[in-house]
């Protein structure tokens, strides 16, 4: 890729990072939400 190698790979690496962040954040959030809800239902035994 000659003289443009750094620019090209930097762009693709950044894209990979953005895609990974968009996958990891909801996945981690899902675990946190489920943990919080388990705690919530333990404390409030009677949902509506």
């Amino acid at each position: 890729m000659g003289q443009y190698t750094t620019y090209i790979w930097a762009a693709y690496a950044l894209a990979a990072l953005v895609l990974c962040i968009n996958v990891v954040l909801p996945w981690r959030r899902s675990k946190t939400v489920r943990r919080q809800l388990e705690e919530y239902y333990r404390l409030n035994r009677e949902p509506r």
Binding site: L14, I21, N22, L37, P47
Partner: protein
């Protein structure tokens, strides 16, 4: 089943869960083929040389930044007018993904601009309007975060999203309305695209891959949002207690 039933969080939640693996698989396949085509098959451009490969990331990211904003504003309007709960969830879930694609478009544009235009940044109409789009996404998220009541937060943010929609045609037509460093549209123009087929194929593959990626992650975000919003309902209580 009536179409309106799909708008019920209780019905939507399991459907989204079943759709995610399919969209993820299609995304992985399209990304693999698109990246191979873009990095190894597509020829260098006769003017820009190898740097044209940045286009396969930059252009789909820019398209997605606008597409997601339109989806977000439409969902916001549906929530505002018809009080559709799932539309509010969709609008909220779109914002961080749209912001990340906008940032990707801005930074990869900068990485492409330096070798081609000799500068990292210019206050060019296209770049400036895209930066405004990024601020609109950030404003939308900040507004949602600043209001505790999810209903009021959704309404306030929807109004901001609808006002901001005016920026979308400005971004699209900026290259025709003003003298900018950006070239005029070469794919979305009326008639035949001016871009060569060898470059068009990887470009479209990456654009479709980014679209299916967006669907995958927005569904995942919507499922989290639904669980949080519906925590007072029996079905979420049963779902969580059954799984724990």
């Amino acid at each position: 089943m009536n179409i309106h039933q799909y708008a019920s969080p209780k019905t939507f939640y399991p459907i989204a869960g079943r759709l995610i693996p399919w969209f993820a698989a299609v995304t992985a396949l399209l990304l693999a083929v698109g990246l191979y085509q873009g990095l190894f098959v597509a020829p260098p451009d006769y003017q820009q040389g190898e740097s044209v490969r940045i286009m396969f990331i930059h252009v789909p990211a820019a398209w997605m930044s606008m597409f997601i904003y339109v989806v977000m504003a439409t969902a916001g309007a549906m929530g505002l007018i018809w009080n559709v709960k799932i539309a509010e969830v969709l609008a909220r879930s779109c914002a961080p993904i749209g912001a990340s694609f906008t940032l990707l478009a801005l930074v990869t544009g900068s990485l492409w601009g330096k070798p081609m235009w000799g500068t990292w940044w210019a206050w060019d109409a296209r770049i400036t309007s895209e930066l405004i789009l990024f601020f609109l996404y950030v404003g939308f998220m900040a507004l949602q975060a600043a209001i505790d009541d999810p209903k009021r937060a959704a309404r306030a943010a929807a109004i901001l999203a609808l006002v901001g929609v005016v920026n979308i045609p400005i971004i699209h037509f900026s290259v025709e309305w003003w003298n900018t460093l950006h070239q005029p549209a070469s794919v979305g123009r009326m008639g035949k695209p001016t871009i060569h087929i060898s470059l068009l194929i990887p470009l479209l593959l990456m654009a479709i891959a980014f679209t299916t990626f967006f669907v995958t992650v927005v569904l995942a975000r919507m499922r989290n949002e639904i669980l949080e919003r519906e925590r007072h309902t029996t079905w979420v209580a049963e779902l969580i207690t059954k799984q724990s």
